[in-house]
C-alpha cells in the first residue's frame, strides 16, 4: 500500500486487522471481508485469530520481559495448550532469524531484532494474513535489512498473504505482487501489478508528495528542491542585524578526541560509547552524522551540545565570531542556547506552550525579549515555516511533519550559529522531508553550521560532508559524494544512487 501522509494507509491496515471499526470506532460503510469473515460484524478477537498486525514502534508493541514469553503471549491469549506452545515458539523465532533467543531479555535486543520479534509474535498463531504498518520506519539500515530479508523469505514461502505499508519503497516494492495506490484524500488511485501502476501513476505519486521508488522514475536526490513555494523569500536575511555573524567558512565547533564512557551499567561493566572522535564544523556547512543505532550518534550530539561532559577530549565552540575556544558545558544557559540548538527526533518533548505561536515565542527570552506570541519575529517565523494558519493550534495536535517544522522554527528564532538535528526527516513523506530540507538550506544561507544525525540516504545526499560512526569510533570523514559512492556499511536500501 502506497500513498502520501494522511492517505489512510494505516486506517486500512487496521481495518484489515479488525481494529477498525471495533477498537478504533468511526463511521463505516461498504464491506470488507478477510477470509470468510465480514470485518464490520465480527468481533476483533475473532478477526485477530486470522490476521496479525505489526506496528511501527517495536517498544510499544512488545509486552513481556523475555523473548519466548513474548512469542507465547499471543498463543496464551488464544487458549493454546502448553505442549503446542512449547513446540511453536522456537519455530516462530526461527522464521524471523531469532533462533536461540528464547531466554534473552526483550529490552536488550536491538531495534531491528525487536521488530523481528514483533513479527514472530504475530506469525506464531499462524494467521492467513500478515499486515505490516511501516515495520521498518524506526530502524537503522542493518535492522531494516534484517526485517526485509525475513519478509522476503516469508513471502517466498507463499503460505500466507502479506500486506505491507511502507514508505521505503525501494526495499518493499520487490516483494509486491500487487500495489494499492491511495491519494491524500484516502481515495484509491490504482490497484494492480507494480509495473503497470508505476508506469501510469509515478508522476502523480510524486506530485502528491509521496516518495517514488527508484524503479518507477529517474528520480534522484538532486531533485530535493529548495524551500516550498511561498514559504521563504530567498536572499532575505532572518537574523537581527545586531547579532554577531560567524565568519563564513571558519570553524565554529572543534571536537578533539572526544571519549565518553558510560558508568557501570547493569552488567557492571563500563561501556565506551565514544572513542576518541574528532570533528570540525565550519560556518555554513551541513554535515551528516551516520552510523548504525548504538554507534554513538546521540551521545556525540549530547557531548557537542555540552549536555554530557566527555570522559576524555575537548569540545570547543565559537561565540560571536571568535575562534572556537569555549567549552559548551561551561556556558551559561542562555548563552549556550544562542550558540547551539538541538532539535530532537520527537519534537513533542520540547513543547512548552499551548499554541504554536507561544511555542516559537518561548525562545525569545534568550535574546532578552518578552515571550510575546504577537511579536513580529514570531509571526515571521510562523509564516516562513508555513505554520501561520496553525498559530493558535495546540502543538500536540499537529501532524508529525508540522511538529518537526515547529521544532525547527522555535530553534531558528534564536538563530544559533550551530544547529544539531536528530533524524529531522524521520517518518516524513517526500513533501514533509522536502519542506524540512528547504528550511535547513535557508537557515544555512546566513552561515549556520548544521550537524544532522540521520539514516536517510536522501538527506545525506544534500549534505556537504559525512562523518560515519561505528561502535563509537569515527570510521569515515569525507564528502557526501565519496560516502554514497562507497558506503562503509552494508545498507538495505541503496545509499548508492
Amino acid at each position: 500500500m502506497i500513498g502520501p501522509s494522511g492517505s489512510g494507509k494505516s486506517t486500512l491496515a487496521r481495518a484489515l486487522a479488525g481494529l477498525v471499526p471495533h477498537e478504533l470506532p468511526g463511521s463505516w460503510c461498504g464491506s470488507l471481508r478477510v477470509g470468510d469473515l465480514d470485518i464490520a460484524s465480527t468481533p476483533a478477537r475473532v478477526v485477530s485469530g486470522q490476521t496479525g498486525i505489526v506496528f511501527q514502534e517495536p517498544e510499544s508493541q512488545l509486552v513481556m520481559p523475555r523473548v519466548e514469553d513474548e512469542v507465547a503471549f499471543g498463543l496464551e491469549n488464544r487458549g493454546w495448550e502448553r505442549p503446542a506452545m512449547r513446540a511453536r515458539v522456537p519455530g516462530a523465532l526461527e522464521l524471523v532469524g531469532l533462533a536461540g533467543f528464547e531466554a534473552r531479555a526483550t529490552a536488550a535486543l536491538s531495534g531491528g531484532e525487536q521488530q523481528r520479534l514483533a513479527i514472530a509474535d504475530v506469525l506464531a498463531p499462524m494467521p492467513g494474513l500478515l499486515i505490516l504498518d511501516e515495520p521498518t520506519a524506526n530502524l537503522d539500515p542493518p535492522g531494516m535489512d534484517g526485517v526485509f530479508s525475513r519478509l522476503a523469505s516469508i513471502a517466498a514461502a507463499r503460505t500466507r498473504t502479506l500486506v505491507i505499508v511502507e514508505h521505503r519503497l525501494d526495499a518493499a516494492l520487490p516483494l509486491a505482487d500487487l500495489v494499492l495506490l491511495l491519494n491524500a484524500g484516502g481515495r484509491q488511485l490504482a490497484f494492480g501489478l507494480p509495473g503497470e501502476v508505476g508506469r501510469a501513476h509515478a508522476e502523480e505519486l510524486a506530485r502528491l508528495g509521496s516518495w517514488v521508488p527508484r524503479a518507477w522514475a529517474g528520480w534522484t536526490a538532486d531533485d530535493l528542491p529548495g524551500p516550498g513555494a511561498g514559504m521563504v523569500q530567498p536572499g532575505e536575511s532572518r537574523h537581527e542585524p545586531e547579532l554577531a555573524q560567524p565568519v563564513e567558512g571558519h570553524a565554529v565547533l572543534i571536537a578533539d578526541c572526544v571519549t565518553v564512557r558510560y558508568p557501570r551499567a547493569a552488567e557492571g561493566v563500563e561501556r565506551v560509547a565514544l572513542s576518541a572522535v574528532s570533528l570540525v564544523l565550519h560556518a555554513g556547512e551541513r554535515v551528516a552524522l551516520v552510523g548504525p543505532n548504538g554507534s554513538g550518534k546521540s551521545t556525540l550530539l549530547f557531548a557537542l551540545a555540552g549536555l554530557r561532559r566527555p570522559s576524555g577530549g575537548t569540545v570547543r565552540v565559537a561565540v560571536g565570531g571568535r575562534l572556537p575556544d569555549l567549552d559548551p558545558a561551561r556556558l551559561p544557559g542562555r548563552m549556550l542556547a544562542r550558540v547551539l540548538g538541538l532539535v530532537f527526533q520527537n519534537p513533542e518533548l520540547g513543547f512548552v506552550a499551548s499554541t504554536c505561536a507561544g511555542e516559537v515565542a518561548a525562545s525569545l527570552p534568550v535574546q532578552g525579549r518578552l515571550p510575546d506570541p504577537a511579536d513580529q519575529q514570531v509571526v515571521r517565523a510562523l509564516r516562513d515555516f508555513g505554520l501561520e494558519a496553525l498559530a493558535d493550534e495546540d502543538p500536540f495536535r499537529l501532524s508529525e511533519g508540522e511538529q518537526r517544522r515547529l521544532g525547527i522554527a522555535a530553534a531558528s528564532v534564536i538563530g544559533p550559529s550551530i544547529l544539531l538535528l536528530d533524524e529531522p526527516t524521520f517518518a516524513l513523506d517526500r513533501r514533509g522531508a522536502e519542506a524540512v530540507v528547504g528550511l535547513l538550506d535557508w537557515l544555512r544561507t546566513d552561515g549556520q553550521a548544521q550537524l544532522v544525525a540521520t539514516h536517510d540516504p536522501r538527506l545525506i545526499a544534500v549534505c556537504d560532508r559525512v562523518v560515519a560512526l561505528d561502535q563509537g569510533r569515527a570510521i569515515f570523514d569525507g564528502s557526501a559524494a565519496a560516502f554514497l559512492a562507497d558506503p562503509p556499511f552494508r545498507p538495505a536500501e541503496p545509499w548508492r544512487r
Binding site: V63, D69, N77, L307, A411
Partner: protein
C-alpha cells in the same frame, strides 16, 4: 542510556527462588503485619534478624549489592528513629525514667523504645520487600497471581506491560529537561519553576498516554481481550516446598511474638 538502577536479581538457585511468588507474598504480609501492629521493639527486632538470616541463607541474592540497594531505606530508618527519640512526647513527662540527659536535652526510656521500634519496623519492611519481590522476576509474580489467586489476567499482564514503559519514560524525562535547557528556557522564581515542572510533567504524561494507547492496541490485536479461557505457558505449581516455607514463615512470626512477650 539507562538512568534506573540495575535490578537486584538472584545469582544462584535458592530456597526462596524455588517457591511460588504468592507463598512468599503470604509470609511477607504476615511478617509485615505483625511487625507493624505489635507494640514495642522486641517483635520487629526478632523479625528483622530472621529476615536478615533468610536474606543471607535462602534468597540467592548477590549480598555484596544489597547494602547499596538498602542504603536509602536504611538512612530513612535511622533518621526517622532518631527524630522519634528526640521529639517523642514522653520526653516531656517529668516522672518518666530518663535514659539520657545532655543539658536541655532529655531522652526518656519510652522515647528510646519508640524510636527503636520505628527504625526496626522500617528495616523489616525493607528486608521483607527484598525477600518477596527481588527473588523472582515480575513475570513469575504475575503468573502466580493469575494462576494461584485468580487475579484477572488483563490486570496482571497489563501491569507487566506498563512496567516495560517505565525506563522509556525515564529517558523521556531526561530529554524533556535537556531540550528546555538548550532552548534557553530558564523559569524564574518559585511560581515559574512550579509552572515549568507542571508543564514538563504534562508533556511526559501525553507521551505516556500515547505509548499506552499504542500498546493496548497492539495487545488487543493479539487477542488480549479478556473473555476467553487463556492458555498457560509458564505453569506454577504449589508443592511441599511452598508448604514448608509457609509453615516455617508463620512459625517465625509466632516465635517472634512469643519471645517479645516473654
Amino acid at each position: 542510556m539507562s538512568f534506573l538502577p540495575a535490578p537486584l536479581e538472584p545469582v544462584r538457585p535458592a530456597l526462596l527462588t524455588r517457591v511460588a511468588p504468592v507463598t512468599r507474598l503470604v509470609v511477607g504480609i504476615a511478617w509485615l503485619g505483625v511487625a507493624v501492629i505489635v507494640a514495642g521493639p522486641a517483635v520487629p527486632f526478632g523479625l528483622a534478624v530472621a529476615a536478615l538470616a533468610a536474606l543471607v541463607l535462602l534468597s540467592g541474592l548477590p549480598l555484596a549489592r544489597v547494602p547499596t540497594r538498602l542504603a536509602p531505606l536504611g538512612l530513612a530508618a535511622l533518621g526517622l528513629g532518631l527524630l522519634t527519640v528526640l521529639v517523642d512526647p514522653a520526653n516531656g513527662d517529668p516522672v518518666a525514667r530518663v535514659a539520657l540527659a545532655l543539658g536541655p536535652l532529655r531522652v526518656t526510656d519510652a522515647a528510646l523504645s519508640a524510636g527503636l521500634t520505628i527504625a526496626l519496623r522500617l528495616a523489616v519492611i525493607a528486608l521483607v520487600s527484598l525477600l518477596v519481590f527481588a527473588t523472582s522476576d515480575p513475570t513469575r509474580l504475575a503468573d502466580s497471581l493469575v494462576q494461584q489467586w485468580r487475579v484477572p489476567y488483563r490486570f496482571a499482564y497489563g501491569t507487566l506491560a506498563a512496567l516495560r514503559i517505565v525506563p522509556l519514560l525515564a529517558a523521556d524525562w531526561t530529554a524533556i529537561g535537556t531540550v528546555r535547557r538548550l532552548r534557553g528556557i530558564e523559569p524564574r522564581g518559585v511560581r515559574g519553576r512550579v509552572g515549568a515542572f507542571g508543564n514538563e510533567l504534562m508533556v511526559l504524561l501525553v507521551g505516556a498516554i500515547r505509548r499506552a494507547e499504542r500498546m493496548a492496541l497492539a495487545m488487543d490485536a493479539r487477542g488480549f481481550d479478556g473473555d476467553q479461557p487463556r492458555g498457560v505457558f509458564r505453569p506454577i505449581a504449589l508443592g511441599r516446598l511452598d508448604a514448608a516455607v509457609l509453615v516455617g514463615g508463620l512459625a517465625v512470626v509466632i516465635a517472634a511474638v512469643a519471645a517479645g512477650r516473654g
